[in-house]
């Protein structure tokens, strides 16, 4: 069982994002508490990935404020937010394809962990940490291989390992399970559960309802750029608007 769910870690107020005339997100309020497992669901195009991109600094939201551990994030760009403890995996894995897996993990260790004021990992410590991270996701035997030699699920695991390497307090797992088989989904869920048990707050963005329902302690639902439900999973999906969004009128 997870530790007690605590104080707000991430507070989003009135967040909005447009692309020209198209409103991708409007007036999003969201609070994420430390240690919780938040599931974020919604139909295709509802703005889930856009929200992640805005929160992580890849995109710039025009309206709204985001506060992380008491610190306002407005104006900080992506790598600065990563340094503060926000990490994300990408929906379509984006590995560093010219490097082997160990070097893929060295990047976040060198540039995030070692960039923080009190940390300084020596080269030996970095090598050890890389080995540990790869072992945790079951990729230890492919350490010297390149990303092109990996299967789909292995790439997803590498994606997660790379995000975890930044030693985050909050991790956004963006559709890490799309297209995977049932047992592969279980593998990824197990990894995420372990991370949560170690104290990392997790936001799971997913389409696979069974995974989201079993994993999340809370559920938020986005439809067409608006948040229409937010609460315990069983309650949230029984919300009539959610039913309408998924099943139609």
């Amino acid at each position: 069982m997870t530790e007690d769910i605590g104080a707000p870690l991430l507070e989003v107020k009135g967040l909005g994002k447009r692309f020209g005339g198209f409103v991708a997100l409007e007036d999003i309020d969201l609070t994420i508490a430390k240690g919780e497992r938040l599931g974020l669901i919604g139909p295709n195009g509802s703005g889930k990935s856009t929200l992640v991109n805005c929160l992580c600094g890849t995109l710039h939201n025009e309206t709204g404020t985001v506060t992380f551990a008491g610190r306002p994030l407005n104006g900080l760009i992506a790598h600065e937010r990563t340094h503060l403890g926000l990490a994300r995996s990408f929906q379509l894995p984006k590995p560093f394809h010219s490097m082997n897996l160990v070097d893929n993990l060295r990047i976040p260790l060198l540039y995030t962990v070692n960039a923080r004021p009190h940390h300084h990992l020596t080269d030996a410590a970095i090598a050890e940490r890389c080995a540990e991270l790869l072992k945790d996701v079951g990729l230890a035997d492919k350490a010297r291989r390149r990303p092109r030699d990996l299967t789909q699920v292995e790439m997803r695991k590498l994606e997660l390992a790379r995000a975890v390497a930044t030693e985050p307090t909050l991790l956004f797992a963006d559709e890490s399970m799309a297209g995977l088989s049932h047992s592969e989904i279980e593998e990824i869920l197990a990894v995420l559960m372990r991370l949560n048990e170690h104290g990392i707050t997790i936001v799971l963005i997913e389409h696979i309802m069974s995974a989201v329902m079993s994993f999340s302690t809370r559920l938020a639902v986005l439809v067409a750029g608006h948040k229409i439900a937010d609460g315990p999973p069983q309650e949230a999906i029984r919300n009539p608007e959610v039913e309408r969004a998924y099943l139609g009128e």
């Binding site: 890849t58 560093f96 490097m99 790379r162 930044t166």
Partner: protein
Amino acid sequence: MRAPAFWLCIVVVGAAFIVLSRTFLTNEYFYFAGYVVLQYIVLSTAWNILGGYTGYTNFGTGAFFASGAYCSVVLHKLPGLVHSAFGLTIVPIPLPVMIVAGGIISGAMGLGTGYLTLRLRGVFFAIATLAFTIVVQTLIVNWDFVGGSRGIYIIRPPNAPLGGGYIQYLFTWMTILTVVSVGIARSIEGSRLGLGFASIRDDELAAEASGVPTLRLKLIATTLSGALMGMAGAPLPYYVTYLDPTSSFNLAYAVNAVAMPVIGGMTSWIGPVIGAILLGTIQQVATVTISSALNLLIVGLLLIFFVIIAPNGLVGLVQSWRRQREA
């Protein structure tokens, strides 16, 4: 081989090269031709730091290179200007000072262009560098102090420090610059900085999300690359003795700076060196035997050919041949 050992190696090789050539080679033509090849090694290596390592194509080699050359022209004329304006006599500016000055000016230009355009996609940076060359060229064309469109004659000093002819002196400095640039390239390759560059090249968004300060690293790459190109251009006025915008901003420099690393191989320090020696030598021979325009055509065609068929260059071909033998 680790970086410090590498530096030692190339310094020794460079020193030996200088000493041996001074002792045994009296043919001036060797120094003329060799200077050009060495210059291209520096230009290609400099280009590759931004192009091959970081993934940003720079078509503006001419601007950085020529700026170094014209900076030297200004410094060359400075004593005369100071004398006529203030009546003071100052010593002629020595070449090493000009080289450093050229590096500083072109490095600053690299920083400036980078800051303006590197927040956009790589394509826009490339186009901006092309634009930049024309802007700088136009400025020089309209600047009479350095000769404007008519060009300017530079007289070589009668005595070369270290003895020997002045061409040998220029050749010595170009050898030093070659050692410096190749050493820097190799040092970057194994370092944290080099890994950061590679992450930007492979996937900039993922690099940024992993905590890499991409803009800062890109600016480092552009500044370093520009500075080295400026240093390569600084001795040019003494080499050619007549400098004009058309020849110093010649697109041939831009094309060669791209073609040599592409053909040699962009992922390692040795690719630009191989490409420069190969193409540089071919061009020196071709310019003498066939027309210079035809020789440039060959370079262009080789670039297109390699980009399509062997994008990892000769080094890449050797690597994949080796990998096939292992399998």
